[in-house]
């Protein structure tokens, strides 16, 4: 008799915490499924993987993954992860959070972590809304889309997150939708194996709030939209990948560059100036 195959997703989850809080049709769970497979493919030992989240629907990921995990404050997952990553250089630190958490309240930390090239992978689930608080507008909500705080349609310009991360010097920038599970898993696997700051945007449906308020149908309808209107363009200039309301979505791996990480820069500079007097910071290596 052969043993039943182990579901790689279950291995990553704190099954005693199921069922999760995510709505049916939500894309966050799909991204976690890809994440679990990517960890397996990247060959990362669970004891050397730490997941940090902020607040919000996507911020709940840290609570469901069965690794050392931290559910921090709104927008501040990245600075927590910075202290953790610098003090635990043998581990892989992943920040898993949403568009509102990472690009609005946490926007300052996002750009500085990318600039410093801290060793971390940031997975940003972008569902164009604050789901946990009832569907308010975020910096990524497309213009004219309705949110509870833009009842006449959003009138603000939006963040093009891959372009922002590119400008800040991120080592690796990719975007996929919840429809592109194989590509997303592959990009996650690649990011997990890289040093430095890597960023993946996952465009995900929020049927309960974003789609319903904009009369865009259920989760299946959003998948249909992603399937029909996504265009794969690896290496596309990030200035060309802005997302409009129900527009074409350019997906792919946009940026990959070599660049010394924060720790590499630190150690190189200190060695140059202090020579043998320099003692590297090892945290709890």
């Amino acid at each position: 008799m052969t043993a039943a195959p182990v579901n790689p997703v279950e291995r990553l989850l704190r099954m005693e915490r199921m069922p999760h809080i995510w709505c049916s049709g939500c894309g966050i769970g799909t991204s976690v499924n890809c994440f679990a497979r990517a960890i397996e493919k990247a060959g990362i030992d669970f004891e050397h993987l730490h997941v940090v989240s902020g607040i919000g629907c996507s911020g709940r990921v840290a609570g469901y993954v069965d690794v050392d995990s931290f559910h921090t404050t709104h927008g501040r997952a990245i600075p927590f992860a910075t202290g953790l990553a610098l003090s635990r250089p043998t581990s892989k630190v992943v920040v898993y959070s949403g568009d509102g958490d990472l690009s609005a309240i946490g926007g300052n930390h996002l750009i500085h972590a990318a600039r410093r090239n801290i060793d971390m992978t940031v997975i940003c689930v972008n569902n164009f809304t604050y789901g946990m608080t009832g569907g308010q507008v975020t910096p990524t909500t497309p213009q004219t889309a309705r949110a509870s705080t833009t009842p006449y349609g959003n009138f603000e310009d939006t963040f093009n997150l891959p372009n922002l991360m590119d400008a800040c010097g991120a080592r690796f920038v990719a975007r996929w939708t919840a429809y592109h599970v194989r590509q997303l898993t592959r990009s996650m696997t690649r990011a997990l194996k890289m040093n430095g700051f890597t960023f993946i945007e996952v465009i995900a449906p929020c049927p309960t709030l974003y789609s319903r308020r904009n009369k865009l149908g259920d989760g299946v309808a959003m998948m249909q939209y992603y399937k029909e209107r996504s265009r794969i363009a690896n290496g596309a200039p990030t200035c060309d990948v802005e997302i409009g309301y129900q527009s074409e979505i350019v997906v792919g791996e946009f940026v990959e560059r070599e660049r010394p990480s924060f720790t590499e820069n630190y150690e190189r500079r200190m060695r140059a100036v202090l020579g043998d007097a320099f003692v590297p910071y090892e945290g709890t290596r």
Binding site: A62, S69, T73, F80, G83, L84, S87, R88, E282, G283
Partner: protein, 385 residues
């Protein structure tokens, strides 16, 4: 445990309080500091930025105080002793993560070199105005520990105390310096490493599967853990159960929050440090702390030279507030003067604890200069009249 002799700057030094604080943190085992420049605290991190690369520590200047106040907590969960350093306006920004440290029971040391506020206030001039903010500044109920040094020597000695208390009680611990103590040059004796008592972090010995991060197995605190030990821990700022998992109900909230308070409140005698002098039978006792403690000591000398019976109580530990000690003063002295560089913060605590069984007077001002001994002496005489 003793400090690490390879890093302790043993010897006699003539340094200011900020540098003494930095050296004390090193002696206490602190190896990671996240901070953001702010007067009058900046020299603490400037000194550490020079020292740390030579002793295997790291200073990172973050993008703001909000980031600093959580970045160092990430290092703590990696297993490192860590702190942040700031002054009033930065402290205001850090309140969110004071709450996180309280809720996740993170051994978290915050150095606050106080200046006059509110808002930008007087950046280069002293005050003692953050006393209530560190106690109540983050939303919700929780306990904290706060110490106030009166000299560069105490900046060294008591930052070590702060780190030791943080390990023992797993809560936010504030080191309440002020501009004068921070910038005052003085003789600082840094002892041999073996003479410096350092509480090392004790990690749980329980194997994965038999350990819950917020369960009390023995003693009075949960057992500490760090990442990578195989326990697959989870911490959250949400109300949680002993496993660290969210528990969204009033019963879990009540149990957890009462414990966060009582784990400190039940140990007041163990935590609190103070100096007493000639209180019994005095006509007036001056209560003070920080740099004002030195003003009070000098003023008492002047008063006693004139034949006045003046007692002194200098609080090193401000929080938890030593209510039993203060309440007992009603039987020991005939009047109390509280001297502090604010318009009444510890003063109200003293009034509350003594329940007006003894008259309590305030000598304070809104900050900007230390309290003049002459002003304090005059008030003592008025009280005695």
């Amino acid at each position: 445990m003793a400090a690490d002799p390879s890093v302790v700057a043993t010897g006699m030094h003539f340094i200011d309080g900020n540098e003494a604080c930095a050296e004390g943190a090193i002696a206490a085992g602190c190896r990671f500091v996240a901070g953001y420049p702010i007067t009058p605290s900046t020299e603490v991190v400037e000194h550490l930025a020079r020292r740390f690369p030579r002793i295997g520590g790291m200073f990172i200047q973050m993008e703001d105080e909000i980031a600093s106040s959580i970045c160092f907590q990430g290092a703590v969960w990696a297993g490192v002793k860590a702190m942040t350093v700031t002054s009033g306006p930065g402290l205001s920004l850090m309140m969110e993560h004071v709450g996180l440290a309280a809720m996740t029971e993170c051994p978290a040391v915050f150095v606050d070199v106080q200046r006059a506020g509110p808002s930008t206030g007087l950046p280069t001039l002293p005050a003692q105005q953050d006393i209530m903010q560190v106690r109540w500044g983050s939303h919700g109920d929780y306990g904290v520990i706060a110490l106030a040094p009166q000299s560069p020597q105490e900046c060294f000695d008591h930052i070590v105390t702060c780190f030791n208390l943080a390990e023992r009680f797993r809560c936010p611990v504030f080191f309440m310096m002020d501009e004068t103590v921070g910038h005052m040059l003085g003789k600082v004796r840094i002892p041999a490493a073996r003479e410096i008592e350092v509480v090392e972090r004790e990690f749980t010995g329980r194997p994965p599967g038999e350990y819950q991060p917020y369960r009390i197995y023995e003693g009075d605190q949960p057992e500490m853990v760090r990442v990578g030990m195989g326990h697959r821990i989870h911490t959250t700022g949400l109300t949680h159960d002993e496993r660290g998992y969210p528990a969204m109900n009033a019963e879990a909230q009540d149990g957890l929050i009462r414990r966060l308070k009582s784990k400190i409140q039940d140990h007041v005698e163990e935590i609190c440090i103070c100096d007493e002098e000639q209180i019994d039978g005095s006509d007036v006792t001056v209560i003070s702390y920080g740099i004002t403690g030195r003003v009070a000591a000098y003023t008492a000398e002047l008063a006693r030279a004139e034949g006045l019976k003046v007692g002194l109580l200098r609080l090193v530990t401000l929080w938890p507030f030593h209510e039993r000690l203060i309440a007992g003063l009603a039987q020991r002295t005939r009047a109390i003067v509280v001297a502090e560089m604010n318009l009444g913060q510890i003063f109200h605590e003293v009034e509350r604890a003594t329940r007006r069984r003894v008259p309590v007077h305030l000598v304070g001002h809104a900050g900007g200069a230390i309290i003049e001994p002459e002003a304090l002496l005059q008030r003592i005489k008025e009280v005695l009249r």
